[in-house]
């Protein structure tokens, strides 16, 4: 996976699409699963005794949050392993995972706010988890900004890996400080929502979590491959242009 495919001759070896049999099967399973969770969450599971239909947003909110944290964990892991092994594989993994993480973090925040309105009465509470998640989003937008700086592949990868690692170290510290700060005034808010859930609601929630993790993997595979192709193109494109100019000048390639 990590061998350089940058000479013009073997660039045809790079596939022109990012699907594979595994990713297609996974995609189909995830699509079915999403439909199933929608049916379970909207029709089959009962409305919550206290919150009514508003509680159904939990089936999107909680899986998004879990995937968001998972994605950032993978980015941190990829960053650490890149610094250790210096392989493009881990750099591309960290990059792909961070982008997906930003999407799911945003989804977590939006669904959390929409859920907050009917239950807390406001879109935003300074709940420790919500606040930590908002800061996490900004930290990883910073990571993507570092990735966005045009630079040589190795330089970009090294910079990004350090940024990813530093941001990740911050997350528990942010969480701890925000938690402590808020707990001086009030108890963590999430715990007073739906203290126990059981039966079909629990099943729906667990299905949602599994399906969302599947969705994450599917997106990760494709985003990883796009990243890899982009990098190959950036490097191969240059090599090809040099070879062409040399041919024009009649120099042996």
């Amino acid at each position: 996976m990590t061998t350089a495919l940058s000479t013009p001759e073997n660039r045809t070896a790079v596939p022109a699409h990012t699907g594979s049999r595994f990713s297609r099967v996974l995609g189909a399973v995830v699509a079915l699963g999403l439909g199933l969770v929608a049916v379970l969450g909207l029709l089959i599971s009962p409305a919550d005794e206290v919150q009514g239909d508003a509680a159904r947003i939990m089936y999107v909110h909680v899986p998004s949050a879990i995937v968001a944290y998972l994605a950032f964990g993978v980015t941190a892991l990829g960053s650490a392993l890149y610094l250790w092994r210096r392989s493009d594989f881990w750099d591309a993994t960290a990059a792909a995972s961070a982008e997906i993480g930003v999407v799911f973090t945003s989804l977590t925040l939006v669904t959390g706010m929409l859920w907050g309105k009917p239950t807390w009465g406001t879109y935003w509470e300074w709940d420790p988890r919500l606040t930590t998640t908002a800061l996490l989003l900004i930290l990883f937008l910073g990571y993507l900004a570092v990735r966005g700086i045009a630079a040589e592949r190795k330089v970009r990868a090294r910079r990004s890996a350090i940024a990813g690692l530093v941001a990740f170290v911050d997350v528990p510290l942010v969480h701890y400080s925000v938690d402590w700060w808020r707990s001086l005034h009030q108890k963590a808010t999430i715990t007073r929502l739906s203290p126990t859930i059981s039966g079909i609601m629990l099943f729906t929630l667990m299905s949602g979590i599994f399906v969302f993790i599947g969705l994450y993997l599917w997106l990760l595979i494709h985003r990883f491959r796009v990243q890899y192709l982009e990098d190959e193109l950036a490097e191969g494109g240059l090599a090809e242009a040099i070879a062409e100019r040399r041919r024009e000048a009649g120099v042996a390639v």
Binding site: L135, L165, V166
Partner: protein, 223 residues
């Protein structure tokens, strides 16, 4: 390593002393920030006094941003950064040296800002003096260590002016929270609570200093 760190710190402080930028530009900037808060919040003294700890630390963070930018601007021009590498100094020592110099400048700013907050906002930190000093020392270490990492990361990049605040400010949120609560505890005569926050500030400072010592070598590989 200590010798190298002292050399780098001495160099940075000498640059700072001779250019007088900290004194002539950053200190006035910090005072303007204090004035702006007063304009924003209606200089009803009671309100400013209650908000003083938070406003103080926001002013410190904004000033720190300028100090960090300064610290790396000195390395960006005339290939100073390559020079540092060529001399063969230990990257961890460069981190430590630059962090020490930036901390010294920032501590000076904190003293000025503290005087400003006491005079302009009527806040009184005097009752728990040791707590206030320890909070300042720990928070400064906690602000400067990630600042050096992100400063080095952003230096030499075309978008550094916009990139550094985006990376640095959310990362130091725990310092902002911890130092503010600790100051509040000092003002409210409940130092025990403040010491708990100092513990958090200490953990933050140690974690980021360790990280900085570890990652400065790959960071400086960038050309």
């Amino acid at each position: 390593m200590w010798r190298d760190a002292r050399l780098v710190a001495g160099k940075d402080l000498r640059v700072e002393w001779r250019s007088r930028v900290a004194l002539n530009q950053i200190v006035p900037f910090a005072i303007v920030v204090l004035l702006l808060f007063a304009f924003a919040l209606d200089p009803d003294r009671g309100f400013l006094r209650r908000a003083a700890p938070g406003l103080y630390w926001v002013a410190v963070l904004l000033s720190a941003l300028v100090v960090i930018q300064r610290s790396f601007a000195a390395e960006t021009v005339d290939g100073g950064r390559d020079g540092l590498r060529v001399i063969g100094l230990d990257p961890a020592a460069i981190f430590l040296g630059k962090a020490l110099a930036a901390s010294a400048v920032l501590l000076l700013l904190e003293v000025v800002l503290a005087a400003g907050v006491m005079l302009l906002y009527g806040a009184d930190f005097g009752s728990a003096f040791i707590l206030v000093v320890v909070t300042c020392l720990l928070a400064t270490a906690g602000v400067v260590a990630p600042g050096m990492i992100y400063g080095a990361l952003a230096s030499g990049v075309r978008v550094r002016e916009t990139l550094l605040p985006l990376l640095f400010l959310p990362a130091v949120a725990p310092v902002m929270i911890g130092a503010t609560r600790s100051f509040e505890a000092a003002i409210n005569h409940s130092p025990a609570e403040g010491w708990r926050w100092c513990g958090l500030l200490g953990v933050f400072a140690v974690a980021y200093t360790a990280l900085g010592l570890a990652v400065f070598e790959p960071l400086l590989e960038d050309s």
